[in-house]
């Protein structure tokens, strides 16, 4: 598998936008089949961290090793790397000019080289799993937000990734649509998918995470098992963040 048994290893990763250091010497490891939740205030760098992991953003310092491959220096084929890593965004980002089925099959056909028949069959199987086969030929704007986000997740899964990155995927949804998306993520966790998710859904993080990392101003301030982080945080900043969340009624 990889270096000291971890599937993903970040060592001393830093990222700047101009003079703004958004990530500051981040160390983090994720094992195969682990679910890691990133929590932290808005602007703490959760999205940036996820985007660095599939090289949507280049890092300024440090190394990232994924599945035994160092991706932060040397020649890396980003397109090959990204096929191993699925990412789902807050805003779904489905392709509006394509049907649900076309959204899901585009990358498998063009990047994995499947035939249309193969890709269609796989996509329908995935859609069946999430109960949306009957929407295969609809355009995204005919779907509810929850349905769109589940299609976006399935679109990423169609590349058969070894790692899924989920960036606040329920933040843009009406409250009554959140659970259908979280159910799908829970199922993924049960099938052993390795995942890193940025989330504001603290109770969900508590339930599915093997490890929770609290990010504060670009630094991993505290990490540990969810029970410890949510019930007995060591760092004052973690405590402060969680008490604010509790006040807001989100835990």
């Amino acid at each position: 598998m990889t270096e000291n048994g971890h599937f993903v290893t970040l060592a001393g990763v830093s990222k700047r936008f101009g003079n703004n250091e958004v990530l500051h010497t981040i160390d983090l490891s994720v094992d195969l089949h682990q679910v890691v939740c990133l929590i932290g205030a808005s602007g703490s760098g959760k999205s940036t961290l996820l985007r660095c992991l599939n090289l949507l953003e280049p890092v300024d310092a440090g190394t990232i090793v994924i599945d035994g491959q160092t991706i932060t220096n040397g020649p890396v084929d980003v397109n090959v790397l990204r096929r191993k890593i699925g990412i789902v965004f807050q805003a779904f980002n489905l392709f509006p000019h394509m049907t649900v089925l076309q959204n899901i099959t585009l990358a498998p056909r063009k990047a994995r080289g499947l035939t249309k028949a193969q890709a269609d069959a796989e996509a329908r199987e995935l859609l069946d799993r999430i109960g949306l086969v009957d929407k295969a030929n609809e355009f995204p704007d005919r779907l509810s937000g929850g349905q769109q986000q589940r299609v976006a997740i399935v679109r990423a899964l169609a590349m058969e990734p070894k790692l899924m990155l989920l960036d606040e995927i329920t933040s843009a949804l009406d409250p009554q649509l959140v659970s259908e998306v979280l159910n799908l993520v829970r199922e993924l966790a049960q099938t052993g998918m390795t995942m890193i998710l940025a989330t504001h859904e603290m109770s969900f993080a508590q339930e599915v995470a093997d490890k929770v990392c609290f990010l504060d101003a670009g630094v991993i301030c505290e990490e540990g098992p969810p029970q410890q982080i949510f019930t007995a945080p060591k760092e004052p900043r973690t405590r402060e963040f969680l008490s604010r969340i509790i006040e807001a009624g989100r835990l």
Binding site: N54, L56, V78, N79, V80, R82, R83, I85, G86, I87, F89, A91, N93, L94, F95, P96, H97, L106, A107, K110, A111, R112, D141, R155, A156, M159
Partner: protein, 235 residues
């Protein structure tokens, strides 16, 4: 008043002018069709070049910018003179022995490609960056992302302005008359010399308008349809 009506609108004059002007107008249609096909393809190419990433592509991008700046700023009539009269005078084997029709198409293509490049570019830029990001994160490469995700959305959005530019091109085919291409305006001129009547010009005008109206209506309808669809989506 009577003299005026007679000179421009005598029924006999109009009827007599139709076949002769129609003869020339077919050339306008050919100029338009050939130039439009070339413009659509070349402008897309140049718009893509202008958007290329990376430092190594800078010379190409600079060339594309220079081209659009130059030909958007130069009057078509001037470009027509320079190509149709200038190129033959160079006495080069291929460039200098083309027909006037070819030089006409070349002039129209050079000028309109510059306009249409800008239209395409606006379309490409109007596609939200998150679309590109989503496509790239699925493992599609730059070219695949452009081909399957960016361009289809961009082109859909610019169809109305593209059609507007083509109405302009359609009319500007008449300018090519100055270098001696026998199109509708030229035939109308011959007619007026032969018969001391402006009816030929009137007929030419009617032809141009008849060609433009369906185009313009089509464009209007398309825009209206889009607006309706977008409003329906918001609701």
């Amino acid at each position: 008043m009577g003299r005026f009506l007679h000179a421009f609108f005598s029924p006999l004059g109009l009827r007599r002018a139709v076949p002769q002007v129609w003869d020339g107008f077919q050339t306008n249609i050919k100029l338009m069709v050939v130039a439009e096909v070339l413009v659509l393809a070349l402008a897309l190419l140049i718009a893509i070049v202008r958007g290329l990433p990376g430092r190594s592509t800078f010379p190409l991008r600079a060339l594309a910018i220079a081209y659009t700046d130059f030909f958007r700023g130069t009057p078509l009539i001037l470009v027509a003179y320079v190509t149709a009269l200038g190129l033959p005078s160079l006495q080069l084997s291929f460039v200098s022995n083309q027909s006037l029709f070819v030089y006409g198409v070349l002039s129209l293509t050079l000028v309109y490609t510059a306009y249409v490049t800008e239209v395409y570019r606006a379309g490409i830029e109007s596609v939200h960056p998150s679309q590109r990001m989503a496509a790239r994160s699925l493992g599609l490469n730059y070219a695949q992302t452009l081909r399957y995700v960016i361009l289809p959305q961009a082109i859909r959005r610019v169809v109305p302005p593209l059609l507007n530019d083509f109405i302009g091109l359609q009319k500007d085919t008449a300018i090519i008359t100055v270098v001696g291409v026998t199109e509708a305006l030229a035939q109308a001129g011959f007619y007026s010399n032969d018969f001391f009547s402006y009816a030929g010009y009137m007929v030419a005008a009617i032809f141009f308008v008849l060609l433009t109206i369906p185009f313009a209506r089509f464009t209007d309808n398309l825009i209206k349809q889009r607006e309706r669809r977008e409003r329906a989506q918001l609701a």
